[in-house]
Amino acid sequence: MTKSELINKLATEKNLTKSRAELVVNCIFDTMTEALMREEGIEIRGFGSFTVRHYPSYPGRNPRTGEVVPVPPKRLPFFKVGKELKVTVEDSRKNGKPIVEGRSEGDGDGVDSPAPTT
């Protein structure tokens, strides 16, 4: 699923125009980005939480030349999966659902193609 597919689904479910749904989805992720920029964690119950982790500088290497180059300190967002989602994700494996890379064919009808029997 891509962001535009998410926007389309939201538009359909809530009877919104696509541009309106787009504003909503963009605003949600922008708000989350701004929180992380302030180093504020985000906690979405049932989904997971985002925090900012600090990584100190370390000597790295240019993989092409082997030259040692200092890697400056950085901040990275870290996502911790929520309990509920963790279980949901594991259940999808137990139910034999393969991992798919987007392209929602079964368009939210809740019915999936039969699981492979191997």
Partner: protein, 113 residues
């Protein structure tokens, strides 16, 4: 920050919705994402990052407390890979430096308004 605060930001930044409506919208967006991941489908949110599922095989491990060897069972895990844009947003100094040094690095310059 919680869902309620995200809903409030949505209420303030995007006009025309009641507080109840923005709360419902935020709830629905995360539910849609949960259902998608729960059906085994990855999510790509451009400018923010990707939520990728990975199947892990069973592997030997250890109880870190006792050192006792145990089997780590096969499982499906969810990982979040932040976008280059989000990474740069959190490291403005680094992004600026990379830009000043030209396009030698993999840091493609994205304008942050």
């Amino acid at each position: 920050m919680t869902k309620a605060e995200i809903a409030l930001a949505l209420y303030e930044k995007v006009g025309g919705f009641s507080k109840k409506e923005t709360a419902d919208l935020v709830e629905l967006v995360f539910d849609l994402m949960k259902n998608t991941l729960g059906s085994g489908e990855n999510i790509k949110v451009s400018r923010f990052g990707n939520f990728d599922l990975r199947d892990k095989r069973q592997r030997p491990g250890r109880n870190p407390q006792t050192g006792q060897p145990i089997n780590i069972t096969a499982r499906r895990v969810l990982t979040f890979k932040p976008s280059q844009i989000l990474r740069e947003a959190l490291n403005p100094d680094r992004a600026a430096k990379a830009e000043a040094m030209g396009s030698s690095s993999n840091v493609d310059e994205k304008s942050t308004p």
